[in-house]
Subunit: 167 residues, 2 copies
């Protein structure tokens, strides 16, 4: 079971934070808390996706990241300064994790509080990409397919758009 | 060898398109063309990353996506309507590919012109996540580590920031 903590959201990053949440959901995390600036539109748009596409993904905002650090879980901070994913993923699979992603300017304390600082490559790229690849590895390269209580669902297809809907 | 074509960029997606480019670079693509609205800031910020962190990643804008579809390459369009990555990745590994990502409202023609329409899960998430996981699979779950002509480089570390610089 994985929950995600997205640090230091800023309004200008609205779409990135939304992509983080949708990626967390699609790759099997149970929910995401974001800190920094509040933004009800993000919550609303992610909740709409869950309502339509199913599953139990929870999203909320918190003012205080320190309160949200879950000491009962193994805390995995994704950062390009961290140890290589491939060297550490075996220790993490199957465990109850809190995955922490920045936000710019992650406080020093996060590196210290984290049980693991993990890099998906040591190059600058994207918290969305890092989160996706981390969850993909955690799930043994499988994408979750069963989202309960869906109203809309896609069947994979070579050229067309195969969409099922129900009320 | 993989090049990326990002369709229909809009100014409000500045950070998403930048993350697409940085992800393409960090995960080993040779370059990215984006269509839709022009945005010199994106080009500038990605070129600065390459100048500092190394490698030969090329980024440019094009007004006309149809001109940019490379018929000499296998065209792989990433879309949540497509066939499952796990069912098709073996056919694609080691080949010269153009990976196409939306943008909203991808024209019907893209689905038709693509040699493959591939989904990374059939749930809505993020073109950044889809691109990352596709390239990660293509590279056999390895992250490229050798970016030539770097001025700054990180050594993976458990708790600290290990940075090397050279002029």
């Amino acid at each position: 079971m994985i929950s995600v903590l997205r640090l230091n959201h800023r309004k200008r990053d609205k779409r990135i934070t939304t992509h983080c949440a949708l990626t967390a959901r699609a790759f099997g995390a149970s929910g995401m808390i974001f800190t920094g600036e509040a933004d009800p539109h993000i919550i609303e748009s992610v909740e709409k996706v869950t309502e339509k596409w199913g599953g139990n993904f929870k999203i909320k905002h918190s003012k205080n990241w320190k309160k949200e650090i879950k000491n009962k879980k193994l805390k995995v901070h994704l950062t390009f300064y961290g140890e290589r994913l491939e060297d550490k993923i075996k220790e993490l699979k199957g465990k109850n994790l809190q995955v922490i992603i920045g936000g710019e300017k992650v406080p020093r304390e996060v590196y210290e509080k984290a049980d693991y600082n993990i890099s998906i490559g040591s190059q600058p790229h994207s918290e969305v990409a890092a989160l996706a690849v981390f969850l993909y590895e955690y799930n043994n390269h499988k994408m979750p397919e069963n989202f309960k209580n869906w109203k809309i669902k896609i069947t994979p297809s070579k050229k067309s758009k195969k969409i099922k809907t129900k009320q």
